[in-house]
Symmetry: C2
Subunit: 486 residues, 2 copies
């Protein structure tokens, strides 16, 4: 069973064959850290967490690079407007890197809550200015860029004479010309569809570095080309990101790499689809987003309750990454219920009665699960198979079907591999038992009271001694007994 | 009451007067991320966490910069040997930045466990190569550096004709000359006490950048001078670090700043003292260290038990930051006990009976706590005052002393401010009660067994009903009763 991946560039599924097996290089576009992560950010990170986990499960050694954009991302994609982080810093009267640190930490905390594994390397744009300048120089020297007023622009027209510009997004240069409107400050460019490789900073711009052209900062698309090359080499296996990055960001990356090195950098392009709210993309720019912290706390007018990180994770995994996924309270509540059902069955496995022979073909399910994941990481089909196994578990528990000892072990292994390791769902119930302890203590204190009333000193003494060992102190008051840890 | 800080440079306590109140700029040397953090790292981070917290409590707006050293720190301080991270990467067959990411994440997790607040900015050496090269250029242009074989060295002899080299550490150039031995590769230097600003990389060195002198990497001392200047300005308030960094690291920083800008950068130098093991410094190079993860798990031959992060925190705070602190199991166990005592009293405050008037002067204690902290952050004296208040609380609880309602509120506020906000100690008891639940359930199941034996059906029924409500299932087997959550 071989892994197939839908390659956006080819518009079809292809058998995955890494360049240097067992090594796999994967680069994924991370967040621009000027606000809290919302459900859309979670979907992208989770999609490639699933890819990362499954590739490792298949035995590959994956170097997974996910960047942090901390400079160069302007307010609109046409190289105009203010730097998103610098603007936030100006509004909050902070140093841009204070904004970066604050939101990077919050992003990490969110990702940890969602049980998303850390990438192998997490480079920042501002930490790789030298590498970006070097690559701009190369593109410039090869004739695919021009300087205007201290800024450097990519010459799309020139490039498209030698290479296929638009091959990822399907856009044509002629159409782009018709469809782009003139924006303020665009006059430096030869054509409105050219994009910035280096921008001269105006005086008040608080992030700028020296370059051969001006004091300024790199264009947004530059960082990914420069950093993927540095850490994964000129050619690498997988480049991932949200579908909203396909154009212009990824199309520009392809142009930059070809212009600089005469060949493509990426072998498999993968794009996750969007979260929608009433059919419209959830996004920061549309201001219809719900942050992950709001989901976790339930504090947002569109939310009927709090949703735990694992509920969010399971909800996202119930859709294939290339489908859109519409947010609703009903769907989240259904996900919560479904996940609890899976865990209840999972807990039951070790208690199942075993018999000499099995009435169910368990090994078949293992193959089905592998087949689902190997078919372009089809997590909803995988989850459907796991729910079929829930039925089997309940039937065996009710003695309507039978399983041998070996098959019960296999069954447990299927859940361990696919639910825990690959889907990355973990049980949330044992994290905080404060309420359970309160409740059990109440039971014990009630029994103690009864024992005292009944002059059952043996029981009363036993309770006192046991609680003593736990450093629990009981105080008798007029209103009954209270307790506390010593 | 004004804050006084022991300034290592002046060898005395000074009244703290920030340059631009209410703003305070503070720079602290963070870890070189090629191994797990040990108790010594915790002490440094915690010392300046205490400073950070107290300055904010006093109303200052603090920009706290703590760096991550991810390149340039060689195996010995005489500019020889391999880069610590590159060596680890070579041994593990990983990209250096994979090592950096792995140990940075683990460092952050340890700091979070210790309830150490995040710095405002956490810059990396590799992310500030441009800024470092610029500063080397300036020093070079001012005549305090020379080039040799593509490397650039600081000319200590030349510098000491114009400035007071050794003013922080008290070392004299003449003595340094007598005491330093010749090391392999030192022949490039004019004098053995000169230090590298830029090192030419040999071919196999995996981290290198272009510079006017060679492809290479910055000297270790350079990053702190360049990054503190970038984020805090030419002159800033506080520079902190472990006492082991005083020479050559901080002495070199002072020389670099003076050479580059003709004046000192730092106004108050603060140094925390070392952790000792049987009187010897605990350190990675001496190989006598115990990592924080080992303390938390108890898995180290020198440890008699696991110690919680808050026990470690309280243990460290019980000593003044400028005193050495000897590690021992007894001292840690005493800290654990003391901390529990503080929390028991803290929990009791809200339950204290109030009377019309107070027999104890509570306001006085607030002043005493402030005085302790304002006297160079004297946490052990502060803790002694809190223990005096524990006595008061217990006496009021036993009705031997009295407190008015207002004074009880003040008492609570003192604990909230000084124990929780400033010392940063938090209650650990509700984080994971799994063991407590197990233990309480055993007590309940024992009682149930006795009740059954004694045909006390009322008790047995009550237990069954109570556990049912908690979704706890009890199974009777030959070996006794077992239980599980449903």
């Amino acid at each position: 069973m071989r892994l197939s991946i839908y390659n956006t560039l080819k518009r079809k599924k292809e058998i995955f064959e890494p360049l240097n097996p067992p090594h796999v290089g994967m680069y994924v576009c991370g967040p621009t850290v000027y606000g809290d992560a919302h459900l859309g950010h979670a979907r992208s990170a989770l999609t490639f967490d699933l890819v990362f986990r499954y590739l490792k499960f298949l035995g590959y050694k994956v170097r997974y690079v996910r960047n942090i954009t901390d400079v160069g991302h302007l307010e609109n994609d046409a190289d105009e407007g203010e730097d998103k982080i610098a603007k936030k810093a100006r509004l909050e009267q902070l140093e841009p890197m204070e904004i970066v640190k604050y939101f990077t930490d919050r992003y990490h905390a969110n990702m940890d809550a969602l049980n998303i594994q850390h990438p192998s390397i997490e480079p920042t744009a501002s930490g790789h200015i030298i590498e970006q300048i070097e690559m701009v120089k190369t593109i410039f020297d090869k004739g695919y860029a021009y300087e205007a007023e201290g800024s450097v622009y990519f010459d799309v027209d020139k490039y498209s004479q030698d290479y296929d510009y638009g091959k990822l997004s399907g856009r044509k240069v002629e159409e782009l010309l018709e469809n782009t409107r003139e924006l303020a400050g665009q006059e430096e460019k030869k054509n409105s569809f050219d994009f910035a490789l280096w921008k001269k900073a105006d005086e008040r711009h608080i992030m700028q570095w020296k370059s051969p052209w001006s004091k300024g900062f790199p264009g947004w698309h530059m960082e990914c080309s420069a950093m993927s090359k540095k850490y994964l080499g000129e050619t690498f296996d997988i480049h991932g990101g949200g579908m909203d990055l396909l154009f212009p960001h990824h199309e520009s990356e392809i142009a930059q790499s070809n212009a600089a090195q005469g060949k493509d950098a990426v072998r498999y392009w993968m794009h996750n689809n969007m979260i929608t709210v009433n059919g419209q993309k959830m996004g920061k720019s549309l201001n219809n987003f719900i942050t992950l912290n709001e989901f976790f706390s339930g504090k947002h007018e569109a939310l009927q309750q709090a949703y735990s990180p694992m509920t969010i994770r399971f909800f996202l995994l119930q859709a294939h990454y290339r489908s859109t996924l519409d947010f609703s309270n009903e769907a989240l509540q259904a996900a919560e219920k479904g996940m609890n059902k899976l865990f209840a069955a999972y807990d039951l496995i070790e208690k199942l009665p075993d018999t000499k022979s099995s009435s169910v073909d368990i090994a078949k399910y293992r193959d089905l699960c592998l087949k689902a994941m190997s078919d372009d990481f089809n997590s909803p089909v995988l989850i459907a198979h796991l729910f079929d196994l829930v039925k089997v578990i309940n039937q065996v528990n009710d003695k309507k079907e039978t399983l041998s000892k070996d098959d019960i072990v296999t069954l447990k292994q299927i859940f361990d591999d696919f639910l825990i390791t690959i889907l990355g769902i973990k049980s949330e119930k044992s994290t905080d038992n404060t309420q359970v302890v309160d409740y059990l203590m109440q039971t014990i204190l009630d029994i103690r009271q009864n024992a005292k009333t009944n002059k059952d000193w043996a029981t009363a003494d036993k309770i006192r001694n046991d609680l003593n060992k736990l450093n629990i102190q009981v105080k008798d008051t007029k209103d009954g007994a209270s307790w506390s840890f010593r």
